[in-house]
């Protein structure tokens, strides 16, 4: 069983991607044994009507991927009344996680806005998926150059919200294994593996970072789904590490949220 915590629906703004229709995406996920996929929306990057983005995402997940696709709402704290977007994610759509893109939305991890968002997410016991980048900055569209999220304030942020389940996504090298290990000690921080690179990259992460803090993520359909799957052939992991990374840790993460809820 595989739980993929990093999937996107809708359209990448700059080119069509293979499998960027929900039916095709779901077919490929199922073919490769993915039983649950946490799906955000590419529309969450640039659209301002975030409430509608999230409603469409929920409808698409239900219509095309019932039982497989789990919607993860977008929240942009620079928009007026973003708090209601968060409320709807939690109360109306019954979401367990939100996905944030600080670089596309124009705020930093040490901003008051970010503090407010993290506090609100922690109060609602939501998982926060922090996406550090969407594409290699060297090959971006000349009119749409977006830097990687500055992770220098991350340690202070995690210190401030140690109980908040935080998933670091699309992490090429912004957070290296040494820093990741420290973050895992201080906070409830997780790392998904879609961007772990260098030969044997996953193996190297497992040696440095507690295996319970590593999640399977593919960044499909922007990346080929097989890139994440083949890491388990290249990196020789034990049975426990394989199982817990592919699904167990994500299950635990959601289970722990359930168990913390007020009676």
């Amino acid at each position: 069983m595989i739980i993929d915590v990093n999937v996107y629906l809708s359209r990448w703004p700059f080119r069509r991607l293979p499998h960027d229709t929900p039916d095709s995406l779901v077919r490929k996920l199922r073919f490769h044994g993915v039983e649950q996929a946490w799906a955000g929306s590419f529309d969450g990057l640039l659209h301002k009507d975030i409430a509608n983005v999230n409603s469409r995402l929920v409808a698409d997940c239900k219509q095309h991927g019932e039982g497989l696709l789990v919607p993860v709402g977008a929240v942009n704290p620079t928009l007026p009344d973003w708090q209601d977007d968060l409320r709807r994610c939690h109360e109306v759509h019954q979401m367990r996680a939100i996905r944030i893109h600080p670089n596309y939305h124009g705020y930093s991890l040490d901003s008051a806005l970010c503090d407010e968002l993290f506090q609100a997410a922690q109060d609602r016991r939501l998982i926060v998926q922090l996406v550090l980048a969407m594409e290699d900055v060297r090959v971006q569209h000349p009119l749409m150059r977006v830097a990687v999220v500055d992770t220098a304030p991350l340690a202070a942020l995690v210190n401030k919200f140690p109980r908040l389940p935080l998933v670091i996504m699309n992490n090429s090298a912004a957070v290296r294994t040494g820093q990741a290990s420290e973050l895992a000690k201080v906070g409830n921080t997780f790392f998904e593996l879609s961007h772990f690179e260098s030969v044997g990259g996953l193996e190297n992460w497992v040696k440095e970072v507690p295996v319970e803090r590593i999640l399977f993520g593919s960044y499909f359909p922007f990346f080929n789904l097989e890139a994440a799957l083949l890491k388990f052939q290249e990196s020789q992991l034990g049975g426990f590490a394989t199982t817990t990374i592919q699904a167990g840790n994500a299950k635990d993460l959601v289970f722990d949220l359930h168990s913390q809820e007020s009676p």
Partner: protein, 309 residues
Amino acid sequence: MQSTDRRSFLSTSAAGVVGCVVGAGNSNLAAVADDAPLANAPFRTSEHDAIWDLHCHFSGVTGDTVEQRAAKLLEYADRMYVQRLIFFMGWPWSYTPEPAEFRRQNDQVLGVLQRWPDRLLGFAYLNASFPDESLAEIERCIQNGPMVGVKLWVGRRCNTEDVDPLIRRCGELNALVFQHTYLKITGNLPGESTPQDLAELAARNSKVPLICGHCGADWTLGIRAVRQFPNVSVGISGSDPTAGFVEMAVRELGAERVLYGSDIGGRSFASQLAKVYGADITDAQRTLILGGNLRRMLKPIMDSKGMQQ
């Protein structure tokens, strides 16, 4: 299922097989198995695909010598069923090597070729800013040595006519020419070539097979830049595993002009092979890209050296 239950189950089943230590804060070394079965992999490459890797370096692994590094890289290659690997540049490498330096790096590659003649192939690293010395290196490493191609990196942009004598000599020897290309919106290095530069080179040397390394990284532009030059093939190595790359290359160039390579060890076999295994192409096209094309292009020079494919 409660997490404690699940962990308890795992610690007595799969984890027990490899002696894994359970629990946060423990050393994870035990989670990396020395003898874990490949059955743990949810999707696998095939040993029948005869994969040849166009683009390998000695980086990404530890080792005091390039032989130690190559040995480690071959372990990973074995796991992925990569049959043959083409190495170029030594360790450490340099952007603009003087002749003594590129000779030193080529000597390192020659050393590993001698040790693993049935697994490894080599391209000579040249710097076109030193045309005479680079020509001499072609004679030493290819005409009189076991190497089968050249690697041009960022020493000098390849649109200059000063590069032509090197290209012509490679053509005479049937040696492949791998030219690194990038199109960085953040700015290329001073001597770094673009696919458009390579197109100029291809127009002047239309009979010599050229390889557009990285396909410019921005492959949507790189493929277009070299599309009109049938003597140019594209290497897909060394960029993120963005979906659609191989499909576009096959559509615009034909599968015969698309070459798999990884750019290990900075990149992984997994991410780069996924570009091919994840592409919506036919089995025949996949076989060509994973190794068939490279074997076809290398056959003349390998035959002339008496090397078996």
